[in-house]
Amino acid sequence: MRVLLIEDDELIAHGILAGLRAHGLTVDGVRTAAHAEAALSAAHCDVVILDLGLPDEDGMRLLQRLRAKGMTLPVLILTARDAVQDRVAGLRAGADDYLLKPFDLDELVARLQALLRRAAGRSVDVITHGPLRLDPASGEVSLHGRAVALSRRELALLAALLHAGGRILSPDQLKDSLYDFSEEIESNALNVHIHHLRRKLGADVIETVRGVGYRFSAGKA
């Protein structure tokens, strides 16, 4: 899962970035509304965390503008404004969830996962596909009831493919789910991770669609 964090306070942003990465999420952080728009158009992301007090534009207005442009990504507002009318205004402006500062890191992660899950149209957190079972919150994967140990990247790759259902994901989209802007990506890194996943879960779990990308192979796992 790739998260875009829009937060102007450096100290808080550092904390959230470190905390979410420690929870196995891929996170990019931007400090202004302008950078946020640039980041959203540059790369795929799954969920946005938005602070309202941005230096160049009010976060609420940014959200309204993005929604008006047709952005459908789930957005979680993270703010110190706790008045009911602020929360109502935030949700009306197009936010999907609202979390007050100071917050609990675990809660933030759980809410992000819930947003993603709802965006994918599921109501339970655990993704089951045939004998394959993935719990995004704990990062546990099991095949035929036996636990399979996956690395952070492998887990993110599997989650991205499962979230997409049977859709084909391009290599770039998959890379966006695995790496944030600050990371150097080796050219064959994605292939390596796919190879490892196939080895651990079975060769036909990921189908290669030549010239287009990869997709989760329905019913074969």
Partner: protein
Amino acid sequence: MTLRLRLLLMIGISMILMWGAVALWMLHGLDKEMQRTLDQRLAMSAHMVAGLMSQNPAAWDGRTGKAGPSTLSMPVAAKGLACQVSMRGEVIARTPGATPESLATAALGFSERELRGEHWRSYTLETNGLRVTTADRLTERDTLLRNVTVAAATPFVAALVGSLLVLWFGVGSGLLPLERLRQVLASRTPDALTPIPDKPMSRDLLPLVNTLNHLLGRMSETISRERRFTSDAAHELRTPLTAIKTHLQVARITQGTDAEVAMDYAEEGVARLQHTLSQLLTLSQVEGAFSWEDGSVADANEVARLAMRDAVPHALERITLDSDGIRAELALPQALAVTALRNLLDNALRHSPSANSVRLEIRRSPETISFHVFDRGPGLSDDELALATQRFWRRGSGRGSGLGLSIVAAIAERFGGLFELLQRSDGGLEVRLTLPCMVGSVGEDFKHVLVPSKGSKMPTWPAK
């Protein structure tokens, strides 16, 4: 006690006292007049009897000679009036009921006596050997007087009771607008600060209603300002608190360098929280009634030295001090002067490129000392100049508490100083803090000068 009852008692009691005194005065006059009239009646009756007797002496002269002592009975002249005629000690005529011993020995003129348990007033007249005495009972006189008094007092008392009743209702209806205002006020919720409608109010109450509305307006302004401040303050404290909490949680779930870095960040958050809290405390103390008189004398140069040391303890060379050797003592507590100047230097340093220095100039006029801080930062736009002293305002996402300049403005206002922000034409900002300085000796004038002058005015923002 209600206003109505108090008014009624005041007016009622004074009315009763006044009219009572008038009544007593009248009764006294009436009594005297009646006694005089009744006395006149006695005397006239006596004269009339004497006149009648002397016109026909034969009627009683002859009879005395032959028949010996026998009395002539007279008809009753008037109710309660007795009459007796005697000649040489012998009673020759009397009204029934008048006893011989009763009236005969009376001296001439008016006199009062008690006979058989009754008080009499008599008048005796002697003419041509005839002695005529008329008398009446004092009890009858009293009865007469009482009847007259009752007849006169009944309408008087009725009028008094009537006017008290009219007064009760009159006062009540007179106070009706006040009562209506009371009901309007009583029906309001405690937090209702909207103006009282002046439409149905009596014209006499309009000044009161206007004053109340003015007061309500000021109160609602103060309350909304305080509410905004509280919410801003809560927001400001939440931000560093969030940073601390987040980094502590990161430190718990990570190991090694990551955990150490997180702890460092958490400490930075604590320092920021501490800074914001102490700035808030300073602001509330400067604006409140807190006494700052610590007894220490604030020498301008010492203030500058301490403020520079506090602002950049490790890079004093970033500040150039130009004081021309001025020696003057400021008329405000040293701690506050240092706080104000340090905030200005902090601000200037924060917005200046680190290679450039900040210049601090101290200038003196006869009554004031002014500190001028010049920085090489980006300066402020007109809009930003207007906002700069607002609490929690920061330029962009600045790192300060947003209270520094508010504190300086509050200190200047409290001690009759002047605080100005000026955009320099060659870039950067000039900040001027003018503070009153001590005149005369330290000892006596100290307290006097410390009191903020009432007439002191803050400049209107934005300062151009």
